[in-house]
């Protein structure tokens, strides 16, 4: 039951975007289309799981005063490895995700989970935490991107879904649209969570 809790807390109760407001920079940048959102979500989840495993394995060797530089080195190496391996062996996937992979280094969800969770918990629950947080981040990205893509281009996942006579509100896929969408969604999400409890 505890394991299930570790897995699901990232999705609603501690959702990285809507509740903790972590990693907003990449969220603003890549939530312009559902395709991008899925790519960024998958890549970030993978790095999150990987860095959580490594950090929870070596947590006892790292003196607490230098833990942040140590975490950053581990995360950055992880991202670089993923970047290079993907470019060599999955070139077409890398072409569509390539832009987001270096962005993961600056995604503070990963550093945040390393500091708040992986450095204090066992490997097993760190993996579950990574998966849950990754799913929560991906779902939030997909929701934001769906709204922005439909309003901004009349498309969903690259397919036209609104009639061609619809004049797209281009503002929605530009940076202001990201702030509006995230702000409104965050307010609705918090209202819903408050009502439930």
């Amino acid at each position: 039951m505890k394991a299930f809790g570790e897995l699901t807390k990232g999705i609603i109760k501690e959702n990285p975007i809507f509740v903790m407001a972590l990693g907003l920079c990449p969220t603003l940048a890549v939530s312009t289309s559902v395709n991008n959102a899925i790519g960024m979500g998958a890549a970030a989840t993978f790095v999150l799981i990987g860095s959580n495993i490594v950090i929870s394995l070596i947590k006892n060797f790292i003196p607490s005063k230098v833990r942040i530089p140590a975490y950053i080195v581990i995360i950055a190496s992880f991202v670089t490895v993923v970047d290079m391996v993907m470019e060599a062996y999955a070139a077409s996937l890398h072409k569509s995700l390539g832009l987001f992979i270096p962005l993961i280094v600056v995604n503070c969800i990963i550093l945040g989970r390393a500091e708040a969770f992986a450095s204090k918990n066992s490997v097993g629950s760190s993996i579950l935490d990574g998966i849950g947080m990754g799913i929560g981040f991906s779902l939030a990205l997909i929701v934001i991107a769906t709204i922005r893509e439909i309003i901004g281009t009349g498309k969903f996942y690259g397919m036209q879904i609104l009639p061609c006579s619809y004049q797209p509100a281009i503002c929605a896929i530009l940076p202001p649209g990201a702030f509006f969408t995230i702000g409104i969604l965050m307010a609705l999400f918090n209202k819903w969570v408050a009502k439930k409890s």
Partner: protein, 187 residues
């Protein structure tokens, strides 16, 4: 004092391991990545000059100081019987938020056969539409003289909300195209 040494040592070990891992993986993947890029360029050349079977690199030698620098000017497209079917070249210009690279295929009479935007990071939904086939089709059968954005008096219809990107693609093609045409006519 002891503490400082210990912290330094731990960081040293972590960074040492990290750099070793990265070095090994880089060495393993770098040649594959280079090969992938080459294959991709070859594929892009084929897509803009479908009649060609293989390509021949035409380079220019420039002497800068003491070094001789080879720059690739364009590629000759040859068919199975080694007959010339056209040329391809790559051009680039800074658009709205990125360098827009385009591959262009032309026939022996200097008409554009096809173009393909091979790399860009323009605004999604606006400038990024320059990579669509609808946009590429606008360049078909054009000669260097009549490539110009409609807002500058030409007949390339610009992408809605992305005149700057359209202009970057159009002008980069025009400049390189004129340059290559002149070189070929001189011969």
């Amino acid at each position: 004092m002891n503490d400082v040494v210990k912290m330094g040592l731990v960081l040293l070990i972590i960074t040492l391991i990290a750099s070793c891992v990265l070095a090994v993986i880089y060495q393993k993947t770098a040649p594959i990545i280079a090969k992938n890029k080459q294959l991709e360029e070859e594929k892009a050349r084929k897509s803009v000059l479908p009649e060609a079977d293989h390509f021949q690199e035409i380079t220019e030698q420039k002497i800068i100081g003491q070094d001789t620098v080879h720059t690739i000017l364009y590629y000759k497209g040859l068919d199975k019987h080694n007959r010339l079917v056209g040329y391809t070249f790559r051009c680039e210009k800074y658009g709205y938020s990125s360098n827009v690279q385009t591959m262009v295929g032309i026939d022996t009479l200097f008409n554009i056969i096809a173009i393909k935007v091979i790399s860009q990071q323009e605004t999604p939904g606006l400038g990024a539409n320059c990579a669509t086939s609808e946009f590429a089709e606008k360049f078909q059968h054009k000669t260097p003289e009549n490539i110009m954005v409609d807002k500058d008096g030409g007949d390339i219809e610009s992408i809605t909300g992305a005149t700057i990107t359209t202009r970057a693609v159009t002008n980069s093609i025009k400049e390189k195209f004129i340059d290559i045409k002149e070189r070929l006519i001189e011969k």
